[in-house]
């Protein structure tokens, strides 16, 4: 079975982002999606710290630390991009103006609940950032994650056990083994990697998958 690498996952998500889409890529794995958007396809990347039209990382030595993304990495601005303040930025998000938000996750439920901000471990210092706004704001929220934990447990679950980020907010889950649509009607398999059947996925996840 051809488990996708993280870069292959990013490339697969990038396929589903059409020209003209307004997109927020979450910190971590989702950031890689930008690397697989063809240059000729105009996609508008938003970063919640106040820029739209985010370009790639600058060359080493060219960083401007007042031009950063939400992960606090130096970035560039495309011609035609612009800056705005934090309230306008989150209005953009909460107001449903973004087409797609791509997030990482600890767990996603078959109904589309998302857990990605807090492990809930005693003693852990919680930090939420923009996760809860991102989760519920865009027209569609995609999640990218490995399907299984290192211990082999499914991160696509009947009900999240980690603290929730948002309820019923995820529409699609991209994993290293399969892509799922999730929502009120439960989880449906969209595609699987070569050599993996729907029954294999049911066995791995323990879920009823349509």
């Amino acid at each position: 079975m051809n488990r996708l690498t993280r870069d292959q996952m990013a490339a697969r998500v990038a396929q589903d982002i059409p020209e003209g889409a307004y997109v927020n890529l979450g910190i971590g794995l989702p950031t890689k999606v930008a690397n697989y958007l063809p240059i000729e396809r105009e996609v508008f990347l938003q970063s919640e710290n106040g820029l739209l039209g985010m370009g790639p990382a600058p060359a080493a030595g060219e960083e401007d630390w007042e031009l950063i993304n939400a992960g606090k990495q130096a970035v560039t601005l495309l011609t035609g991009g612009c800056f705005f303040h934090h309230a306008d930025s989150f209005a953009m998000m909460r107001g449903g103006h973004l087409d797609i938000c791509v997030l990482g996750a600890f767990q996603v439920s078959t109904k589309g609940d998302l857990a990605n901000w807090h492990t809930g471990e005693p003693g852990a210092i919680p930090a939420v950032g923009g996760a809860m706004d991102l989760a519920i704001g865009a027209k569609q929220t995609f999640v990218m994650m490995e399907l299984l934990t290192k211990q082999g447990e499914s991160k696509l679950v009947e009900a999240c056990t980690y603290p929730l980020t948002g309820l019923g907010c995820v529409s699609r889950v991209y994993t290293d083994l399969a892509i799922f649509d999730v929502g009120p009607g439960g989880a449906h398999i969209v595609e699987t990697v070569e050599g993996l059947t729907a029954d294999d996925l049911r066995a791995l996840t323990g879920l009823t998958l349509g």
Binding site: E19, G20, Y22, E42, F44, Q46, L52, G53, L77, T79, G80, G81, C82, F83, F84, A87, D88, F90, A91, M92, M93, R94, G95, G96, H97, L98, G137
Partner: protein, 228 residues
Amino acid sequence: MIDKTVGNVEEAVAGISDGAAVMIGGFGTAGMPDELIDALIARGVGDLTIINNNAGNGETGVAALIKAGRVRKIICSFPRQTDSHHFDTAYRAGRIELELVPQGNLAARIQAAGAGLGAIFTPTGFGTLLAEGKETRNIDGRDHVLEYPIHADFALIKAHKGDRWGNLVYRKTARNFGPIMAMAAKTTIAQVAEVVPLGALDPETVVTPGIFVQRLVEIGAPQSEKRS
């Protein structure tokens, strides 16, 4: 390549249909997108709900739309003016419904729609006729009225310059409701005096980021400027 500019005002107002809720920018005639409104009249749709600060001035813009009998309801702060005769006539004849909103609540409710808020508690209007029947609450010793967002299907606005991604800058007090209406409507249509190449607008000074604009059309010399 994304190009939100359209060739003429007819294309700009395509898709607006009977019964639509349409925000129209402008404070009096400053910022009024006259050419887009003329195109809307020419399109022949009616039964519209219009959201504007006023209810038309003289013979152009919103006044012309009302005169043409296309407006079922208007949500505004200041309908009665010396030159609002078309509204006055329609209102007295019972042909137009009026929802009167204090100007700051109008702006806040439009902004709340654009920002995805469910409702806001505002102190403006508490204890007045315009808050009758509305939920109120004392918060930190001050009385407030609960007001809901105003959404729209379309916004017609006038800006100064724009680019093919829909980024806009405005001119002087013609800015007024443009930026917040652009955020609150499903489809925002801007008429601009000039479409400039991508990159010609300074990224620090863009007032309306392109994400809030779906179509723009260049109108070289708008009526409102000719009038001046």
